[in-house]
Amino acid sequence: MEPRAVKQPTPSSARPRRSQRPAPEPKAQRSTGAIAARTGLGDRWRAWLGHHREMAGESLRRFFATPLASGMTALVIAIALALPAALQLGLVNFQRAVAGWDGQPQISVFLHRDAREAAVESFAEELRADADIAEVTYISPEEALAEFQQSSGLGDAMTGLDNNPLPAVLLVRPRDTAEERLEALAERLRDSAMTDAVVLDMAWVQRLAQLTELGRRLSAGLAALLALGVLLVVVNTIRLHIENRREEILVVKLVGATDAFVRRPFLYSGLCYGFFGGLLAWLLVAAGVALLSGPVAGLSSSYGSGYALRGPGPSYLLALTAGAALLGLIGAWLAVARHIKAIEPR
């Protein structure tokens, strides 16, 4: 008990406490300045969060304070990102449009023009019973004509004809799509007395697959190249920002700012550029799709398909803004890593 009594506040131990009181007048003993400057952990965490919020807000304000300059940078980023995004979207649409053909070769059997309806029906039944054939669709000359008139726009010209020039067609979907089996089946169909011509669109299917692959690689390569371009644009823009605020960086470093503190506003600026660039890119692609959807709809209906162009959905919005924001952040990081170290008080 006795030693405790010694710890009673003496004038000397009361002194540091005094400087921590909520409202010490400046006249308070200052020799404990170093201690008084220290703040609690919770306060620090709140201040850190507060600084992040402040910097995020400030970078937004700075972005909109010079709308022309910021807008141009964002637009450059947007154009660079819209290109591969549009290509990717085009690819998706293309694949969707040809989805029915994908890996499902079809054999078109054109029948002799003078074959009678009943004979054709029984030939179709015969083929349906074939173990090698999965499905047979019969298109009569009348149906073929009606479809052609509707979709080709040549309806008036057709009505002038005396008789239907189109043959009956059997669309045969084979069960086995291995190449030699297909060839064998096509050969067998060609041998039939009813058959005029047989078209196996195998090569087309392969070409399509290769074309799609080509497009995919092209868009990936372009995306990588243009992402690099975006990175360089952000690096350069942030470098200019740093140069413009050189004075301020020197002062805050002299009053004890850490590198992280100095970096923060620039990182948020990079994030800002990226985000708005991505948003603009999405708008560009969406506008492009809106512009093209009319002609595409007309074109597809002329081919007898109800295909409509798919626009860049929310997944594109998310991918573009998040991806671009990330690129902006990385670009800003590269810029500050190089340039903020170089700005030291001399």
Binding site: E247, T258, D259
Partner: protein, 228 residues
């Protein structure tokens, strides 16, 4: 509070800026640093503020050896230091208040605390009524006082000033020096580099004089010595 132990500083150009400087400044002292330009005043202050590192010898500030300070620790060291510049180094894109608040926001002070301390510092230099103004509209003397408020807002144990009266007339210079005296009176260790010998003599404080990088005088001069 501040100890230099045979400190040498040689710049990469081969120029010896400081040669075997040893000195001791006690807690709560006010010291003037004089000498012609190029004598090593700025170098000494740069070593003290960890802008430069000594080539040889060691520097202790508040028990902390600056030689052992890693680059990442320098910001934290500077937070316990108040620095006043000749050209005051104020930022003209923000108000007087925000300029003074800078060291506090850097060290992560709560908003409430910032407001309280900034107003206390501005009150001390007599500029509380100008907190909302942009420093660019203030006079030279006022700008320097804002610079001093910013240096003391963190309640540093050590206050360092580099030619704080360099661009001011005698009347304003005397006021600024009086401010340093006031801070010193409440326990802050103050080091002021100045070549205003007349003013220094009037203050009757300890003076360190550098010449060609060497400490040639350390003492309290009489008024007559300053004029001779």
């Amino acid at each position: 509070m501040i100890t230099f132990d045979s400190v040498n500083k040689r710049y990469e150009s081969g120029q010896d800026a400081l040669v075997r400087i040893s000195l001791e400044i006690g807690r709560g002292e006010l010291v003037f640093l004089t000498g012609h330009s190029g004598a090593g005043k700025s170098t000494l202050l740069k070593l003290l503020t960890a802008i430069e590192r000594p080539t040889r010898g060691s520097i202790l500030v508040a028990g902390q050896n600056l030689n052992r300070l890693r680059n990442g620790q320098i910001p934290y060291y500077r937070r316990n230091l108040g620095i006043v510049f000749q050209n005051h180094q104020l930022l003209f894109d923000r108000s007087v208040y925000d300029n003074v608040a800078l060291p506090l926001s850097v060290s992560g002070c709560s908003k409430r605390e910032v407001g309280r301390r900034v107003r206390a510092a501005l009150d001390k230099v007599g500029l509380l009524h100008k907190e909302r103004q942009n420093p660019i509209v203030l006079s030279g003397g006022e700008q320097q006082r804002v610079g001093i408020a910013r240096a003391v807002v963190n309640k540093p144990a050590v206050l360092v000033a580099d030619e704080p009266t360099g661009n001011l007339d005698p009347q304003l210079s005397a006021e600024i020096m009086q401010l340093f005296s006031d801070f010193n009176a409440v326990g802050v260790t103050v080091m002021v580099a100045s070549h205003d010998l007349e003013l220094i003599a009037r203050m009757k404080r300890r003076v360190l004089t550098l010449q060609a990088g060497q400490l040639i005088y350390d003492g309290t001069p009489s008024r007559e010595a300053a004029y001779s």
